[in-house]
């Protein structure tokens, strides 16, 4: 219970601070963010876009781990865990796509421009969609779990291509792309300490939130299965 309350305060603080703290050229007070050239006011969406995309990847990774676990032990609990991770991943994937598109509109001029990262998050969205389509097509529990596990592992092995190959093939707009000369990853440059603090707090808060949601989600799935069996 304690850490749920703590989580509430972290998320509340991050939301308020991320949206309301002013961006000024020479920050003096602790609540002022520095002006980052090239980002300006858009910088604030970092606090929400980066955690959601980070959780999209984490959820996909966890779903694959529990799929492998399911195939090894054939325990339906692992399948429920993998399924919940995929469900949450889908939610965060949509959030990351939307926040990214909004940011892209103001930073690059259009909502969508097939930047390599945009392509890979689109592929991730398709993979999640295909996973749910596959799940809804199979009635029998064990078979559904096995097929979904196999598919999520096969989808996972294509991920390196999106991370390492796409930036080479396509021109990138994100920092860290192949043809990007002026800046490294966002976190490295020109964020002052209070901005970094809120950024990491947001990352931490969202990760805990994900973990909590995941735990509640898979437990409810397991109880639902038990109830279904009792009724039958």
């Amino acid at each position: 219970m304690i850490w749920q309350i703590l989580l509430f305060f972290i998320i509340a603080f991050v939301s308020v601070a991320g949206i309301a703290f002013p961006i000024v050229e020479n920050p003096i007070h602790w609540y002022e963010f520095p002006l980052i050239p090239g980002l300006e006011e858009n910088a604030k969406i970092i606090f929400f876009h980066v955690p959601t995309s980070w959780l999209t990847v984490i959820a996909f990774f966890m779903s694959t781990i529990f799929s492998i676990k399911y195939l090894r032990k054939k325990d339906l609990v692992d399948d429920a865990k993998a399924h919940t991770a995929a469900q949450l991943g889908m939610i965060f994937c949509i959030l990351a796509t939307v926040t990214g598109a909004v940011w892209a509109k103001f930073a690059w001029g259009s909502f969508w421009s097939w930047d390599p990262r945009q392509t890979s998050i689109f592929a991730l969205l398709l993979i999640y969609g295909a996973l749910f389509a596959l799940r809804s097509a199979v009635e029998q529990e064990e078979k559904r779990a096995t097929l979904a596990s196999v598919y999520s592992i096969i989808a996972f092995v294509t991920v390196p291509f999106f991370i390492f190959i796409m930036p080479r093939i396509m021109k990138g707009l994100h920092p860290g792309s192949a043809d990007d000369t002026h800046s490294g990853p966002v976190v490295d440059f020109k964020m002052n300490s209070n901005m970094l603090l809120i950024f990491y707090l947001s990352l931490f808060g969202f990760t805990i939130l994900y973990y909590w949601m995941w735990k509640v989600g898979y437990k409810s799935l397991i109880y639902k299965d038990k109830l279904d069996k009792q009724i039958k």
């Binding site: 592929a123 596959l134 199979v138 592992i153 294509t158 291509f161």
Partner: protein
């Protein structure tokens, strides 16, 4: 139906009857499975007919929609792989779906190990994809003036390894589809995310060979294609056991 099926498996059934008394294990080789698939394909010509018709339909739809317009070179190169993808999606799921439809998958599970089954189906799909792509490439070069390949060596490398990649991925997805029970609509949905990196690289390589880039410059992309094939084939062999056994 049973009579036809028996005649295909005649030698096989005989070996089973002969060896059931002994403790010797009955084994079916992947080439035998391939020959059986080929024989039943030649008898019905289902996949070949539907694939050929699908190629003609897709290309003519593209031609009609272009009309008298001049399309750019790159666009015609991209459309080539669109035709390849959708043709593959229309016919390749037969490999496993036909076994489930005829109810022969249980017998296959008894007499052959999963990797043997996968190899046999993979050989069949490889040949099917390759001949299908050759037909598409020839038709395409004849019908599209904008589709001019300057570096043929680079394009053939992309063509070869791309066909292998498409065959591997679509075979393993076909196995999933056959077990999932919904045959038609799910197949392209599941295959597209898996084939997406492959298709993007293939389109890029086609552009490069249209520009006349040297083979050495396109080497890395070809290496990526080979990587994809190797990763996919090892993942498929590892995971096929779980799909195949009920």
């Amino acid at each position: 139906m049973i009579v036809i099926w028996l005649s295909v498996h005649q030698s096989l059934i005989l070996t089973i009857i002969k060896t059931t008394k002994g403790s010797a294990k009955i084994k079916m080789t992947s080439t035998a499975l391939f020959r059986k698939d080929l024989a039943s394909e030649i008898r019905t010509r289902y996949a070949i007919n539907s694939l050929v018709m699908f190629i003609i339909v897709t290309i003519s739809v593209i031609l009609f929609s272009i009309g008298n317009e001049k399309i750019s070179d790159y666009l015609s190169g991209g459309l080539f792989w669109v035709v390849v993808f959708f043709t593959a999606m229309s016919g390749l799921s037969r490999a496993f779906v036909s076994e489930e439809e005829r109810g022969t998958s249980l017998l296959l599970q008894l007499i052959a190990s999963p990797s043997t089954v996968f190899s046999g189906k993979l050989i069949f799909n490889l040949i099917l994809v390759f001949s299908m792509n050759v037909v598409i490439a020839n038709l395409y070069t004849a019908l599209f003036e904008a589709f001019v390949i300057k570096n043929l060596l680079l394009f053939s490398a992309a063509f070869l390894f791309g066909s292998i990649g498409i065959a591997i991925s679509s075979t393993v997805i076909a196995a999933i589809i056959a077990k999932a029970g919904s045959k038609g609509t799910l197949y392209p949905v599941l295959s597209f995310p898996i084939l997406l990196p492959l298709i993007l690289i293939l389109i890029e390589l086609t552009k490069m060979s249209m520009d006349g880039t040297t083979f050495e410059e396109g080497m890395i992309e070809v290496a990526v294609l080979i990587c994809y094939d190797v990763i996919m084939i090892s993942a498929s062999y590892l995971l096929f056991d779980f799909i195949w056994k009920d």
